[in-house]
């Protein structure tokens, strides 16, 4: 299973959701499907996509939040799984693409490569209430559809091949992405306090 195929199948379901993706290949593959104002690409600060998702989910309870994560990033913020489990936002779906590789930073093997480190087991052990492991695009979409329907924090670990795009680049400056993402959310919420600190 390729992550790009999962994203392609998932893409139509993301239109009404707030999407936070990790860096590199995952971000590029999502962008190449067509940028939308509800997408935020975290091109650095590995590990924090799930934390951004938690902050969003708790502060925009009427929105549905999707975090696109990876094994390398999750391994950098394992404590974040415990924080997610503790506060378990009902409106967050955590999709972890496990390709067993630090693909975007040189293709080095990650701790999950040999099958020793089991991210689904870690998520369960952290206390995440609804965790599943999928190995086919069909199962991935079935699990995602169920997660999008339910009101429980759901973690889906998808085993994918360590392959990515043959190019990198976006016509979107990073702060521009942040400004537009925020504006999209605030306008959607009709928040009167937007842009004001107090």
């Amino acid at each position: 299973m390729k992550r790009a195929d999962c994203l392609k199948a998932l893409y139509p379901e993301l239109h009404e959701r707030l999407v936070v993706t990790i860096m590199g290949a995952c971000a590029q593959e999502l962008y190449d499907l067509g940028h939308r104002e509800n997408f935020f690409y975290l091109e650095h600060a590995m590990g924090l996509a799930s934390s951004i998702g938690l902050g969003l989910a708790l502060n925009a309870p009427d929105e549905k939040v999707v975090v696109l994560d990876g094994d390398g990033s999750v391994l950098m913020n394992l404590g974040g799984l415990a924080t997610l489990a503790r506060y378990r936002p009902r409106n967050l779906t955590h999709l972890i693409f496990d390709n067993g590789s630090l693909l975007s930073t040189g293709g080095f093997a990650s701790h999950t490569t040999a099958g020793l480190t089991d991210l689904a087991a870690i998520a369960k052990g952290a206390g995440c209430p609804n965790v599943c492991l999928v190995t086919s695009v069909y199962d991935f979409m079935a699990a995602a559809a169920e997660a999008f329907e339910n009101t429980t924090l759901t973690t889906i670990v998808a085993k994918v091949e360590a392959v990515g795009p043959d190019h990198y680049g976006m016509d979107l400056a990073l702060p521009e992405n942040a400004f537009r993402f925020r504006r999209h959310i605030v306008q959607k919420q009709g928040s009167k306090g937007a842009g004001k600190p107090g």
């Binding site: 707030l18 936070v20 935020f40 975290l42 091109e43 650095h44 600060a45 590990g47 924090l48 996509a49 799930s50 934390s51 951004i52 998702g53 938690l54 902050g55 969003l56 989910a57 708790l58 502060n59 925009a60 929105e63 913020n77 404590g79 974040g80 415990a82 924080t83 503790r86 506060y87 990073l174 702060p175 992405n177 942040a178 400004f179 993402f181 925020r182 959310i185 605030v186 919420q189 928040s191 306090g193 937007a194 842009g195 004001k196 600190p197 107090g198």
Partner: protein, 169 residues
């Protein structure tokens, strides 16, 4: 020396007066009363993280949702969160208002805090991260409000250092 309950209340009142209703924190001794006050306040959401760098992500998420927020941490936690400060907040121009317990400085009896205390200000200066020291319960409320305002106008992280003078009786 004990943590000052009265001055913790002054800090908490400053947070409330700033309009912030979302806090993220990693618990530490000097923050004990602040966190209790937040926990007991039905109008306040407090998220306790496992490591301080998570709080940078939480703050970004809250900001994207249009909610001003404050991070509470110890200076060693700030040092542990640096990549998030640099490569999320600074890179994407996300405001952060950090209230940082400044352990390991003047009067510090515990050796383990001292290196972090000594290097906190040089690191802040090295990052060009605007900061102030909070020493007086009479002015800390205003300082918090101004920190929130400046973080949002500058789209930058800012830090208010909670000193021993303020936090201990």
């Amino acid at each position: 020396m004990t943590v000052s309950r009265d001055n913790s209340l002054a800090v908490y009142q400053g947070i409330k007066d700033s309009g912030v209703r979302f806090l993220s924190a990693l618990p530490e001794t000097w923050l004990i009363y602040l966190l209790q006050l937040a926990d007991d306040d039905p109008d306040m959401t407090l998220i306790e993280v496992a490591k301080e760098e998570e709080a940078i992500g939480l703050a970004a998420g809250a900001y994207f949702a249009g909610k001003p927020n404050i991070l509470l941490m110890q200076n060693h936690g700030f040092l542990a969160a640096l990549n998030g400060v640099v490569s999320l907040a600074m890179l994407y121009r996300v405001p952060l208002c950090m209230l940082i317990a400044l352990r390991g400085h003047w009067g510090e009896p515990y050796p383990w805090h001292t290196q972090g205390g000594i290097y906190t200000e040089p690191v802040l200066r090295g990052l060009g991260l605007p900061f102030e020291y909070a020493r007086d319960p009479a002015t800390v409320g205003r300082q918090i409000k101004e920190a929130v305002t400046f973080a949002h106008s500058s789209l930058s992280p800012v830090a208010l250092l909670l000193t021993r003078e303020l936090m201990e009786d």
